[in-house]
Protein backbone atom coordinates (compact mmCIF):
# COMPACT_ATOMS: atom_id res chain seq x y z
CA UNK A 1 0.00 0.00 0.00
CA UNK A 2 2.59 2.50 1.05
CA UNK A 3 4.82 1.37 -1.78
CA UNK A 4 2.14 2.41 -4.24
CA UNK A 5 1.70 5.71 -2.49
CA UNK A 6 5.40 6.46 -2.63
CA UNK A 7 5.50 5.34 -6.23
CA UNK A 8 2.63 7.59 -7.06
CA UNK A 9 4.12 10.54 -5.29
CA UNK A 10 7.43 10.23 -7.10
CA UNK A 11 5.62 9.77 -10.39
CA UNK A 12 3.52 12.85 -9.71
CA UNK A 13 6.50 15.00 -8.95
CA UNK A 14 8.40 13.78 -11.98
CA UNK A 15 5.54 14.25 -14.37
CA UNK A 16 4.57 17.66 -13.06
CA UNK A 17 8.16 18.82 -13.30
CA UNK A 18 8.44 17.48 -16.81
CA UNK A 19 5.20 19.14 -17.81
CA UNK A 20 5.84 22.60 -16.48
CA UNK A 21 9.53 22.79 -17.23
CA UNK A 22 9.69 21.15 -20.61
CA UNK A 23 6.44 20.11 -22.16
CA UNK A 24 4.49 23.32 -21.62
CA UNK A 25 6.78 25.09 -24.02
CA UNK A 26 6.52 22.49 -26.75
CA UNK A 27 4.01 23.32 -29.42
CA UNK A 28 4.48 21.04 -32.38
CA UNK A 29 3.51 22.65 -35.68
CA UNK A 30 1.76 25.33 -33.65
CA UNK A 31 -1.08 22.97 -32.88
CA UNK A 32 -0.04 20.12 -30.63
CA UNK A 33 0.55 20.67 -26.93
CA UNK A 34 1.49 17.56 -24.92
CA UNK A 35 -0.21 17.06 -21.59
CA UNK A 36 1.28 14.15 -19.69
CA UNK A 37 0.52 15.00 -16.07
CA UNK A 38 -2.99 13.64 -16.53
CA UNK A 39 -1.38 10.24 -16.61
CA UNK A 40 -1.50 10.39 -12.83
CA UNK A 41 -5.25 10.61 -12.87
CA UNK A 42 -5.53 7.92 -15.49
CA UNK A 43 -3.35 5.62 -13.47
CA UNK A 44 -5.19 6.09 -10.19
CA UNK A 45 -6.31 2.71 -8.79
CA UNK A 46 -9.85 1.72 -9.47
CA UNK A 47 -10.33 0.94 -5.83
CA UNK A 48 -9.77 4.56 -4.90
CA UNK A 49 -12.97 6.33 -3.91
CA UNK A 50 -14.43 9.07 -6.03
CA UNK A 51 -13.84 11.72 -3.39
CA UNK A 52 -10.17 10.96 -3.12
CA UNK A 53 -9.77 10.78 -6.85
CA UNK A 54 -11.37 14.20 -7.18
CA UNK A 55 -9.14 15.62 -4.49
CA UNK A 56 -6.05 14.27 -6.19
CA UNK A 57 -7.22 15.64 -9.50
CA UNK A 58 -7.98 19.05 -8.07
CA UNK A 59 -4.64 19.39 -6.33
CA UNK A 60 -2.77 18.15 -9.36
CA UNK A 61 -4.54 20.62 -11.62
CA UNK A 62 -3.97 23.41 -9.15
CA UNK A 63 -0.24 22.70 -8.93
CA UNK A 64 0.14 22.71 -12.69
CA UNK A 65 -1.92 25.91 -12.82
CA UNK A 66 0.27 27.66 -10.32
CA UNK A 67 3.31 26.85 -12.36
CA UNK A 68 1.84 27.83 -15.69
CA UNK A 69 -0.06 30.96 -14.58
CA UNK A 70 -3.46 29.73 -15.65
CA UNK A 71 -5.39 29.76 -12.41
CA UNK A 72 -8.32 27.46 -12.29
CA UNK A 73 -8.27 26.06 -15.81
CA UNK A 74 -6.36 22.86 -15.20
CA UNK A 75 -7.94 22.44 -11.78
CA UNK A 76 -11.41 22.47 -13.30
CA UNK A 77 -10.50 20.10 -16.11
CA UNK A 78 -8.67 17.66 -13.83
CA UNK A 79 -11.54 17.52 -11.38
CA UNK A 80 -13.98 16.67 -14.12
CA UNK A 81 -11.57 14.11 -15.50
CA UNK A 82 -11.26 12.43 -12.12
CA UNK A 83 -15.02 12.14 -11.94
CA UNK A 84 -15.21 10.62 -15.42
CA UNK A 85 -12.53 8.04 -14.71
CA UNK A 86 -14.84 5.34 -13.52
CA UNK A 87 -17.57 5.64 -16.17
CA UNK A 88 -15.04 5.62 -19.01
CA UNK A 89 -13.33 2.57 -17.63
CA UNK A 90 -16.64 0.78 -17.38
CA UNK A 91 -17.12 1.43 -21.08
CA UNK A 92 -14.08 -0.62 -21.98
CA UNK A 93 -13.65 -3.08 -19.15
CA UNK A 94 -16.50 -5.39 -18.24
CA UNK A 95 -14.90 -7.47 -15.51
CA UNK A 96 -13.25 -5.30 -12.90
CA UNK A 97 -12.56 -8.00 -10.34
CA UNK A 98 -10.22 -10.01 -12.52
CA UNK A 99 -7.63 -7.31 -13.00
CA UNK A 100 -4.13 -8.37 -11.83
CA UNK A 101 -3.42 -4.90 -10.55
CA UNK A 102 -5.72 -2.21 -9.36
CA UNK A 103 -4.19 0.45 -11.59
CA UNK A 104 -5.33 0.62 -15.21
CA UNK A 105 -2.32 0.16 -17.43
CA UNK A 106 -1.30 -1.85 -20.50
CA UNK A 107 -0.27 -4.67 -18.20
CA UNK A 108 -3.55 -4.94 -16.39
CA UNK A 109 -6.04 -4.13 -19.13
CA UNK A 110 -4.41 -5.37 -22.23
CA UNK A 111 -3.14 -3.15 -25.01
CA UNK A 112 -6.36 -2.45 -26.89
CA UNK A 113 -8.50 -1.64 -23.93
CA UNK A 114 -5.80 0.44 -22.33
CA UNK A 115 -5.18 2.43 -25.46
CA UNK A 116 -8.87 3.04 -25.94
CA UNK A 117 -9.19 4.16 -22.34
CA UNK A 118 -6.14 6.40 -22.66
CA UNK A 119 -7.40 7.94 -25.86
CA UNK A 120 -10.85 8.68 -24.47
CA UNK A 121 -9.54 10.25 -21.29
CA UNK A 122 -7.02 12.38 -23.13
CA UNK A 123 -9.59 13.48 -25.66
CA UNK A 124 -11.98 14.53 -22.92
CA UNK A 125 -9.26 16.38 -21.09
CA UNK A 126 -7.95 18.23 -24.13
CA UNK A 127 -11.45 19.26 -25.14
CA UNK A 128 -12.09 20.58 -21.67
CA UNK A 129 -8.86 22.48 -21.35
CA UNK A 130 -9.04 24.13 -24.73
CA UNK A 131 -12.68 25.05 -24.30
CA UNK A 132 -12.04 26.64 -20.92
CA UNK A 133 -9.03 28.45 -22.25
CA UNK A 134 -10.71 29.99 -25.23
CA UNK A 135 -14.17 30.19 -23.63
CA UNK A 136 -15.72 30.80 -27.01
CA UNK A 137 -16.45 29.03 -30.30
CA UNK A 138 -14.79 31.81 -32.22
CA UNK A 139 -12.67 29.58 -34.42
CA UNK A 140 -14.12 26.07 -34.18
CA UNK A 141 -11.88 24.61 -36.83
CA UNK A 142 -8.72 25.60 -35.05
CA UNK A 143 -10.16 24.41 -31.79
CA UNK A 144 -10.86 20.96 -33.21
CA UNK A 145 -7.40 20.84 -34.72
CA UNK A 146 -5.79 21.73 -31.42
CA UNK A 147 -7.78 19.12 -29.56
CA UNK A 148 -7.07 16.31 -31.99
CA UNK A 149 -3.38 16.96 -32.36
CA UNK A 150 -2.75 17.47 -28.68
CA UNK A 151 -4.64 14.27 -27.91
CA UNK A 152 -2.56 12.23 -30.31
CA UNK A 153 0.73 13.62 -29.04
CA UNK A 154 -0.21 13.16 -25.41
CA UNK A 155 -1.45 9.61 -26.00
CA UNK A 156 1.81 8.77 -27.68
CA UNK A 157 3.86 10.11 -24.81
CA UNK A 158 1.71 8.50 -22.17
CA UNK A 159 1.81 5.11 -23.88
CA UNK A 160 5.55 5.39 -23.78
CA UNK A 161 5.58 6.23 -20.10
CA UNK A 162 3.19 3.39 -19.45
CA UNK A 163 5.41 0.85 -21.11
CA UNK A 164 8.33 2.23 -19.08
CA UNK A 165 6.46 1.62 -15.87
CA UNK A 166 5.47 -1.95 -16.66
CA UNK A 167 7.34 -4.35 -14.36
CA UNK A 168 10.13 -5.88 -16.37
CA UNK A 169 9.51 -9.41 -15.49
CA UNK A 170 5.93 -9.35 -16.71
CA UNK A 171 6.20 -7.37 -19.92
CA UNK A 172 4.46 -8.22 -23.17
CA UNK A 173 1.94 -10.73 -22.10
Amino acid sequence: MSKTVIQFTILTILLVMAQVLVLNHICLFNVAVPMVFIYIIIRLPITLGANWAMTVGFILGLVVDIFSDTYGMNALACTILAVLRRPVLHLYVSREEELPRPEPSIYSLGTTACLKYLLTMTLVYCTLIFLIESFTFFNPLRLVLLIVCSTLLSVLLMAGIDSLLTPRSEKRL
Partner: protein, 284 residues
Protein backbone atom coordinates in the same frame (compact mmCIF):
# COMPACT_ATOMS: atom_id res chain seq x y z
CA UNK B 1 -29.55 15.62 12.26
CA UNK B 2 -28.63 12.01 11.64
CA UNK B 3 -30.67 12.01 8.47
CA UNK B 4 -28.78 15.07 7.27
CA UNK B 5 -25.44 13.44 7.99
CA UNK B 6 -26.55 10.25 6.25
CA UNK B 7 -27.61 12.32 3.27
CA UNK B 8 -24.26 14.02 3.17
CA UNK B 9 -22.37 10.75 3.41
CA UNK B 10 -24.46 9.18 0.69
CA UNK B 11 -23.95 11.99 -1.75
CA UNK B 12 -20.53 12.96 -0.55
CA UNK B 13 -18.92 12.65 -3.92
CA UNK B 14 -21.36 15.09 -5.46
CA UNK B 15 -20.68 17.51 -2.67
CA UNK B 16 -16.94 17.24 -3.04
CA UNK B 17 -17.30 17.61 -6.77
CA UNK B 18 -19.38 20.74 -6.39
CA UNK B 19 -16.90 22.25 -3.96
CA UNK B 20 -13.99 21.65 -6.27
CA UNK B 21 -15.90 23.00 -9.25
CA UNK B 22 -16.77 26.16 -7.42
CA UNK B 23 -13.22 26.72 -6.24
CA UNK B 24 -11.79 26.16 -9.72
CA UNK B 25 -14.37 28.45 -11.29
CA UNK B 26 -13.64 31.19 -8.80
CA UNK B 27 -9.94 30.88 -9.50
CA UNK B 28 -10.62 30.80 -13.21
CA UNK B 29 -12.81 33.85 -13.32
CA UNK B 30 -10.82 36.03 -11.00
CA UNK B 31 -7.37 35.42 -12.37
CA UNK B 32 -7.71 35.10 -16.08
CA UNK B 33 -8.47 38.38 -17.81
CA UNK B 34 -10.66 37.12 -20.63
CA UNK B 35 -12.89 34.99 -18.47
CA UNK B 36 -12.92 37.76 -15.91
CA UNK B 37 -14.08 40.18 -18.56
CA UNK B 38 -16.85 37.85 -19.65
CA UNK B 39 -18.07 37.33 -16.12
CA UNK B 40 -17.93 41.01 -15.33
CA UNK B 41 -19.78 42.08 -18.44
CA UNK B 42 -22.55 39.55 -18.02
CA UNK B 43 -22.81 40.45 -14.38
CA UNK B 44 -22.69 44.08 -15.30
CA UNK B 45 -25.56 43.75 -17.73
CA UNK B 46 -27.72 42.25 -15.03
CA UNK B 47 -26.77 44.72 -12.34
CA UNK B 48 -27.02 47.63 -14.73
CA UNK B 49 -30.57 46.76 -15.67
CA UNK B 50 -31.55 46.38 -12.03
CA UNK B 51 -29.98 49.70 -11.09
CA UNK B 52 -31.60 51.53 -13.96
CA UNK B 53 -35.02 50.19 -13.01
CA UNK B 54 -34.50 51.33 -9.42
CA UNK B 55 -33.22 54.74 -10.38
CA UNK B 56 -36.20 55.27 -12.67
CA UNK B 57 -38.33 55.24 -9.57
CA UNK B 58 -36.10 57.06 -7.11
CA UNK B 59 -35.20 59.88 -9.49
CA UNK B 60 -38.68 61.31 -9.06
CA UNK B 61 -38.05 62.02 -5.39
CA UNK B 62 -35.44 64.68 -5.98
CA UNK B 63 -37.18 66.52 -8.81
CA UNK B 64 -38.19 69.56 -6.81
CA UNK B 65 -34.65 70.39 -5.73
CA UNK B 66 -33.36 69.80 -9.22
CA UNK B 67 -36.02 72.15 -10.57
CA UNK B 68 -35.09 74.96 -8.23
CA UNK B 69 -31.45 74.56 -8.99
CA UNK B 70 -32.12 74.63 -12.72
CA UNK B 71 -34.21 77.78 -12.46
CA UNK B 72 -31.52 79.56 -10.55
CA UNK B 73 -28.90 78.56 -13.04
CA UNK B 74 -31.17 79.59 -15.88
CA UNK B 75 -31.49 83.05 -14.42
CA UNK B 76 -27.71 83.36 -14.05
CA UNK B 77 -27.14 82.18 -17.59
CA UNK B 78 -29.66 84.61 -19.04
CA UNK B 79 -28.00 87.48 -17.26
CA UNK B 80 -24.66 86.38 -18.62
CA UNK B 81 -26.08 86.12 -22.16
CA UNK B 82 -27.46 89.64 -21.89
CA UNK B 83 -24.11 90.98 -20.76
CA UNK B 84 -22.30 89.18 -23.55
CA UNK B 85 -24.75 90.50 -26.11
CA UNK B 86 -24.05 94.02 -24.92
CA UNK B 87 -20.34 93.43 -25.29
CA UNK B 88 -20.81 92.13 -28.82
CA UNK B 89 -22.92 95.15 -29.68
CA UNK B 90 -20.20 97.47 -28.48
CA UNK B 91 -17.68 95.65 -30.61
CA UNK B 92 -19.98 95.92 -33.61
CA UNK B 93 -20.29 99.66 -33.04
CA UNK B 94 -16.56 100.04 -32.97
CA UNK B 95 -16.25 97.94 -36.09
CA UNK B 96 -18.87 100.08 -37.79
CA UNK B 97 -16.95 103.19 -36.86
CA UNK B 98 -13.77 101.70 -38.26
CA UNK B 99 -15.42 100.73 -41.53
CA UNK B 100 -16.47 104.27 -42.33
CA UNK B 101 -14.64 106.06 -45.11
CA UNK B 102 -13.46 109.34 -43.73
CA UNK B 103 -13.42 112.16 -46.23
CA UNK B 104 -10.76 114.73 -45.48
CA UNK B 105 -13.26 117.48 -46.18
CA UNK B 106 -15.38 116.14 -43.34
CA UNK B 107 -12.58 116.20 -40.79
CA UNK B 108 -14.26 118.97 -38.88
CA UNK B 109 -17.09 116.54 -38.27
CA UNK B 110 -16.97 113.88 -35.60
CA UNK B 111 -19.33 110.88 -35.53
CA UNK B 112 -20.86 109.29 -32.47
CA UNK B 113 -22.35 105.84 -33.08
CA UNK B 114 -25.68 105.15 -31.41
CA UNK B 115 -28.31 102.44 -31.47
CA UNK B 116 -31.94 103.16 -32.17
CA UNK B 117 -34.05 101.99 -29.25
CA UNK B 118 -37.40 103.40 -30.27
CA UNK B 119 -38.75 104.35 -33.67
CA UNK B 120 -42.03 104.98 -35.42
CA UNK B 121 -42.97 105.63 -39.00
CA UNK B 122 -46.72 105.49 -39.10
CA UNK B 123 -47.75 108.44 -36.96
CA UNK B 124 -48.24 111.95 -38.23
CA UNK B 125 -45.29 113.21 -36.22
CA UNK B 126 -42.52 110.64 -35.77
CA UNK B 127 -39.73 110.69 -33.23
CA UNK B 128 -36.73 108.39 -32.77
CA UNK B 129 -35.00 107.53 -29.49
CA UNK B 130 -31.34 106.54 -29.42
CA UNK B 131 -29.29 104.86 -26.71
CA UNK B 132 -26.68 107.58 -26.20
CA UNK B 133 -27.12 110.85 -24.36
CA UNK B 134 -25.43 113.93 -23.01
CA UNK B 135 -22.86 111.87 -21.13
CA UNK B 136 -21.71 110.52 -24.52
CA UNK B 137 -21.38 113.99 -25.99
CA UNK B 138 -24.75 114.39 -27.66
CA UNK B 139 -26.32 117.86 -27.59
CA UNK B 140 -29.58 119.16 -29.00
CA UNK B 141 -29.62 120.27 -32.62
CA UNK B 142 -27.03 117.73 -33.77
CA UNK B 143 -27.75 116.08 -37.08
CA UNK B 144 -28.16 112.32 -37.30
CA UNK B 145 -27.46 110.18 -40.36
CA UNK B 146 -27.09 106.47 -41.05
CA UNK B 147 -25.22 104.70 -43.85
CA UNK B 148 -27.98 105.44 -46.34
CA UNK B 149 -28.93 109.01 -45.70
CA UNK B 150 -30.36 111.60 -43.35
CA UNK B 151 -32.30 110.40 -40.33
CA UNK B 152 -33.15 113.42 -38.20
CA UNK B 153 -32.00 116.05 -35.73
CA UNK B 154 -31.47 115.63 -31.97
CA UNK B 155 -34.26 117.29 -30.04
CA UNK B 156 -34.02 116.44 -26.36
CA UNK B 157 -31.15 114.73 -24.52
CA UNK B 158 -31.02 112.89 -21.25
CA UNK B 159 -27.85 111.59 -19.64
CA UNK B 160 -28.06 108.22 -21.42
CA UNK B 161 -30.70 108.62 -24.12
CA UNK B 162 -31.69 111.23 -26.67
CA UNK B 163 -34.78 111.89 -28.77
CA UNK B 164 -34.53 112.85 -32.41
CA UNK B 165 -37.06 114.54 -34.60
CA UNK B 166 -37.26 112.06 -37.45
CA UNK B 167 -37.21 113.24 -41.04
CA UNK B 168 -40.72 111.79 -41.16
CA UNK B 169 -41.97 114.69 -39.11
CA UNK B 170 -43.47 117.80 -40.68
CA UNK B 171 -41.74 119.95 -38.07
CA UNK B 172 -38.37 119.17 -39.62
CA UNK B 173 -37.43 121.14 -42.67
CA UNK B 174 -34.10 120.24 -44.18
CA UNK B 175 -32.18 122.60 -46.41
CA UNK B 176 -31.34 120.59 -49.56
CA UNK B 177 -30.26 121.10 -53.09
CA UNK B 178 -29.95 119.14 -56.30
CA UNK B 179 -26.52 117.60 -56.51
CA UNK B 180 -24.32 119.45 -58.90
CA UNK B 181 -26.28 122.69 -58.65
CA UNK B 182 -26.49 125.41 -56.05
CA UNK B 183 -30.21 126.05 -55.97
CA UNK B 184 -31.45 125.38 -52.48
CA UNK B 185 -34.87 124.23 -51.32
CA UNK B 186 -36.56 122.90 -48.18
CA UNK B 187 -37.25 119.24 -47.75
CA UNK B 188 -40.27 118.31 -45.60
CA UNK B 189 -42.37 115.23 -45.10
CA UNK B 190 -45.96 115.44 -46.19
CA UNK B 191 -47.23 112.72 -43.89
CA UNK B 192 -48.31 110.31 -46.61
CA UNK B 193 -45.57 107.86 -47.60
CA UNK B 194 -42.72 107.08 -45.16
CA UNK B 195 -40.38 106.61 -48.07
CA UNK B 196 -40.98 109.93 -49.79
CA UNK B 197 -40.74 113.65 -48.95
CA UNK B 198 -41.36 116.90 -50.78
CA UNK B 199 -38.60 119.30 -51.72
CA UNK B 200 -40.20 122.74 -51.87
CA UNK B 201 -39.21 126.31 -52.63
CA UNK B 202 -36.98 125.31 -55.49
CA UNK B 203 -36.65 128.23 -57.91
CA UNK B 204 -38.42 127.80 -61.17
CA UNK B 205 -35.28 128.31 -63.20
CA UNK B 206 -33.54 125.36 -61.55
CA UNK B 207 -32.84 122.51 -63.95
CA UNK B 208 -33.59 119.04 -62.75
CA UNK B 209 -34.42 115.62 -64.15
CA UNK B 210 -36.00 112.50 -62.81
CA UNK B 211 -33.43 110.45 -60.92
CA UNK B 212 -31.32 113.40 -59.85
CA UNK B 213 -29.76 113.02 -56.41
CA UNK B 214 -30.84 115.41 -53.68
CA UNK B 215 -28.19 116.22 -51.07
CA UNK B 216 -27.97 118.50 -48.06
CA UNK B 217 -26.88 121.97 -48.87
CA UNK B 218 -24.61 122.53 -45.89
CA UNK B 219 -26.25 125.87 -45.16
CA UNK B 220 -27.03 124.88 -41.62
CA UNK B 221 -24.50 123.78 -39.09
CA UNK B 222 -26.56 120.69 -38.45
CA UNK B 223 -25.60 118.66 -41.52
CA UNK B 224 -22.43 118.92 -43.61
CA UNK B 225 -22.78 119.57 -47.27
CA UNK B 226 -23.35 116.67 -49.58
CA UNK B 227 -25.06 114.15 -47.30
CA UNK B 228 -27.35 112.06 -49.48
CA UNK B 229 -31.05 112.49 -48.96
CA UNK B 230 -32.90 110.92 -51.88
CA UNK B 231 -33.66 110.93 -55.59
CA UNK B 232 -36.18 112.92 -57.59
CA UNK B 233 -39.24 110.93 -58.50
CA UNK B 234 -41.66 113.50 -59.77
CA UNK B 235 -42.22 117.20 -60.14
CA UNK B 236 -45.21 118.96 -58.71
CA UNK B 237 -46.30 122.46 -59.45
CA UNK B 238 -46.83 124.53 -56.32
CA UNK B 239 -49.63 126.97 -55.94
CA UNK B 240 -46.98 129.68 -56.10
CA UNK B 241 -45.82 129.68 -59.69
CA UNK B 242 -42.36 130.91 -58.90
CA UNK B 243 -41.36 127.79 -57.04
CA UNK B 244 -41.23 124.12 -57.83
CA UNK B 245 -41.96 121.20 -55.56
CA UNK B 246 -40.22 117.92 -56.21
CA UNK B 247 -41.26 114.56 -54.88
CA UNK B 248 -38.13 112.90 -53.49
CA UNK B 249 -37.73 109.23 -52.75
CA UNK B 250 -35.64 109.00 -49.58
CA UNK B 251 -32.55 106.82 -49.42
CA UNK B 252 -33.04 106.10 -45.74
CA UNK B 253 -35.26 103.13 -44.91
CA UNK B 254 -36.91 104.29 -41.70
CA UNK B 255 -38.52 100.94 -41.01
CA UNK B 256 -35.14 99.18 -40.56
CA UNK B 257 -33.19 101.79 -38.61
CA UNK B 258 -30.74 100.18 -36.20
CA UNK B 259 -27.40 102.01 -35.99
CA UNK B 260 -27.09 105.74 -36.62
CA UNK B 261 -24.33 108.31 -36.47
CA UNK B 262 -24.72 111.60 -34.67
CA UNK B 263 -22.74 114.36 -36.32
CA UNK B 264 -20.80 116.60 -34.04
CA UNK B 265 -19.57 119.71 -35.71
CA UNK B 266 -16.42 121.06 -34.14
CA UNK B 267 -17.05 124.44 -35.63
CA UNK B 268 -20.64 124.68 -34.43
CA UNK B 269 -19.87 126.80 -31.39
CA UNK B 270 -17.78 129.17 -33.45
CA UNK B 271 -20.48 129.47 -36.12
CA UNK B 272 -23.16 130.15 -33.57
CA UNK B 273 -21.07 132.83 -31.93
CA UNK B 274 -20.35 134.53 -35.24
CA UNK B 275 -23.99 134.44 -36.34
CA UNK B 276 -25.14 135.73 -33.00
CA UNK B 277 -22.79 138.65 -33.24
CA UNK B 278 -24.13 139.48 -36.68
CA UNK B 279 -27.66 139.55 -35.31
CA UNK B 280 -26.62 141.76 -32.46
CA UNK B 281 -24.87 144.12 -34.83
CA UNK B 282 -27.77 144.18 -37.22
CA UNK B 283 -30.04 145.64 -34.63
CA UNK B 284 -28.12 148.83 -34.74
Amino acid sequence: MRELLKFFIKYSSWLVFTVYMVVSCVLLFTSNPYQHHLYLTSANAVSASVYSAVSNVTSYFSLRDINEDLQRRNADLELEVYKLKNVIRDYHEKEYADSMVVDSALSRYHFIIAHVINNSINRSHNYITIGKGSLDGIEPEMGVVDQNGVVGIVNVTGPHTARLISLLNPHLRLSCKVKGQDHVGSLAWDGRDPGEAILEELPRHAVFHKGDTIVTSGFSSVFPEGVLVGTVVDAEKEHDDNFFALRVKLFTDFSTLSTVRVIRDKMKDELREVEQDIEVKSTF
